[in-house]
């Protein structure tokens, strides 16, 4: 099976004041295309740092980082931004929708970076909202939607440009159990029916159970990467 993500000897060091802090210590990781991986571990274990590297939001201090077929550690800022827009969909814990825009306008934002016509963008937005079950809420602003609905809009925004990889940072962290289950079910559908590779950071073991593999981290190292039956 082809690899969606390949990390070799990844080291990440932050400089805080005069101090250098190494948060990832020579990580190696492979994620197959179409896999749903849950990244777990205690706070400060380096989960979000790893997710940021995979998503091309940050550069490793050392190591090789191949994501969606591209060695992204070699890309410049502008090239990396372009790469992100084509290959990565993001789902945040607090949805991070633009409050002034309606749901459909929020979903349209990633498509502004494409060459699609206005009509085609509208069509794609409608399809994405349909997929997350919010076609009837297209004209509502985030403040008029529940937390679960806002996260669905956020997922629609993540998939509207049809990226190969979805990175989700605690996507159910701000939701009650019922809404969390719906979101996780939606992510599973995107993984199984639409072939999206998903990397999800979570503290919640129940959420992690929806993934096909759980990777545990501690103090900047991988401690376990067993596959599950989910």
């Amino acid at each position: 099976m082809s690899k969606a993500i390949e990390l070799r000897n990844i080291v990440k060091t932050y400089t805080r004041g005069n101090q250098k802090v190494e948060v990832l210590h020579g990580l190696d990781l492979e994620v197959d295309t179409g896999e749903f991986v849950a990244l777990m571990g205690p706070s400060g274990s380096g989960k979000t740092t790893l997710l940021n590297l995979i998503a091309g939001l940050d550069n490793p201090t050392k190591g090789e980082l191949k994501v969606a077929g591209e060695n992204i550690e070699k890309l410049s800022g502008a090239a990396l931004a372009k790469w992100r827009s084509r290959n990565i969909g993001f789902v945040f814990q607090f949805y991070n929708l633009l409050p002034v825009l309606t749901a459909e306008r929020n979903v349209e934002v990633p498509l502004l970076l494409t060459n699609l016509s206005s009509a085609q963008r509208k069509k794609n937005v409608a399809a994405a909202l349909q997929l997350v079950g919010l076609a009837d809420r297209a004209h509502h602003k985030p403040s008029e939607l529940s937390g679960g609905q806002q996260q669905r809009v956020s997922i629609a925004r993540a998939i509207v440009a049809d990226p190969t990889i979805l990175v989700c940072d605690e996507p159910t962290g701000d939701l009650d159990r019922e809404n969390a289950e719906e979101i996780l079910g939606l992510l599973q559908t995107l993984n199984r029916s639409h072939g999206k590779t998903i990397v999800m950071v979570t503290h919640d073991p129940l959420a992690a159970n929806h993934a096909s593999r759980q990777i545990h981290m501690d103090k900047g190292r991988l401690v376990d990467g067993s596959r599950t039956a989910a």
Partner: protein, 384 residues
């Protein structure tokens, strides 16, 4: 254009703040448009004045009368082409609130020295055959809905007639159509009647005028001819001061105030304050939206896009409000400017306004735009 929704969303994230900022810009550019409009309009009118025209008034003051006999002597000066005279009175129609600039003149010469008033030979002839005749400009005729043939009573509080009344009756014999540059000036809006009729009718002051207007053959000799005219009456009880029309108007304005300095000082202070206000608003707006801007960067917007987005917000806000302000200024000037003869904001002021709005947008938008451009996504998403 497809990014417009993001720019628009950024502007209206805090509607009250945006409206208040816009109002500040609107008021500033309203002031700018009206004050600079008046200033530039005056400068332009002065610049447009015919260099071949000299004004002669009493050396004592402009309101001091000088003898009508001066006219024949002025005509003897070499280089003088034609001499008209005028006497001005604050008149009114029916009610003292309907004030009118009432002028007695020798209409044949006057029509020649002010061709821009476009007083036709037929009107001159009508005035000469109707002693009580008067000609008026189109703006005044439209204001009071007067037409040729109307008999109009004009009150002149400072000049009673031999019958003991302050009201003089006139017959409108012509309505002239002045050029736009002069249409709203005191000349264009004046009520012009025969000096001969008036000087006979009035109770006192017969045989005197307030001013002579002389056209000369060569504008380059204006100084020389002015001196020659004033020399004629030197050491007499009625000494004169002769200047070019532009110099006379400037001197009159200087008696009121240095309008240029006052206008520039006010507008400068307003725009300087506005710069800080707008810059502060933009900084605050971007500071509040750091997480949202980080999301845009996450989705694939480049750092240059962020710079352009924030600068565009600033430009849109400033340009829209400035144009609105200038538009309101134009409307205001149309209403109020008739009193000073300037009813439109000159194009140069509109161009200056747009330029200042662009500079304001750049100066106030650049610091937050650079901040947005240099945004570190990871730190911004983490709220650091």
């Amino acid at each position: 254009m497809k990014y417009f929704m993001l720019i628009w969303a950024g502007i209206w994230r805090k509607p009250v703040r945006t409206i208040l900022t816009m109002l500040s810009i609107v008021v500033a550019f309203l002031l700018f448009g009206m004050l600079q409009g008046v200033n530039q309009g005056i400068n332009s009118q002065l610049a447009n004045n015919n260099g071949n025209r000299l004004w002669t008034i009493s050396r004592m003051s402009q309101v001091q009368a000088i003898p009508i006999g001066h006219m024949s002597r002025i005509k003897t000066v070499a280089g003088v082409r034609e001499v008209a005279h005028l006497s001005f009175f604050g008149g009114y129609f029916q009610d003292s609130r309907n004030s009118i600039g009432a002028f007695a003149t020798n209409i044949d010469a006057f029509a020649n020295v002010y061709p821009e008033l476009r007083i036709t030979p037929e009107m001159v002839q009508a005035m000469q055959t109707t002693r009580t005749g008067a000609v008026i400009g189109k703006p005044l005729a439209e204001k009071f809905k007067w037409k040729v043939g109307d008999q109009i009573p004009i009150g002149m509080p400072t000049m009673s007639n031999k019958a003991g009344s302050n009201t003089y009756m006139f017959d409108i014999v012509g309505i002239f159509d002045p050029t736009p540059e002069i249409a709203n000036s005191p000349l264009g809006t004046g009520f012009w009647f025969n000096y001969d009729y008036f000087t006979e009718a009035r109770a006192f002051g017969a045989g005197s005028v307030h001013q002579y207007i002389t056209t000369i053959t060569d504008a380059r000799k204006a100084g020389e001819i002015s001196s020659a005219i004033d020399k004629l009456f030197a050491n007499s009880p009625d000494e004169t001061r002769t200047q070019t029309e532009a110099a006379s108007l400037q001197a009159q304005l200087k008696q009121l105030a240095d309008i240029n300095f006052i206008v520039n000082a006010i507008v400068g202070a307003v725009l300087f304050t506005l710069l800080f206000l707008t810059a502060n608003t933009m900084m605050q707006s971007v500071r509040e939206r750091i997480p949202e801007l980080a999301v845009l960067r996450t989705l694939g917007f480049s750092s240059t896009s962020m710079l352009v987005l924030v600068l565009s917000e600033s430009f849109l806000l400033c340009a829209f409000a400035a144009m609105l302000g200038l538009g309101l200024g134009a409307i205001g000037l149309r209403g109020l400017g008739t009193m000073i003869g300037i009813t439109a904001i000159p194009t140069i002021v509109v161009v200056m306004g747009i330029g200042i709005a662009a500079l304001l947008a750049l100066a106030s938008g650049l610091p937050p735009a650079l901040r947005a451009q240099r945004l570190n996504i990871v730190d911004a998403l983490a709220g650091r």
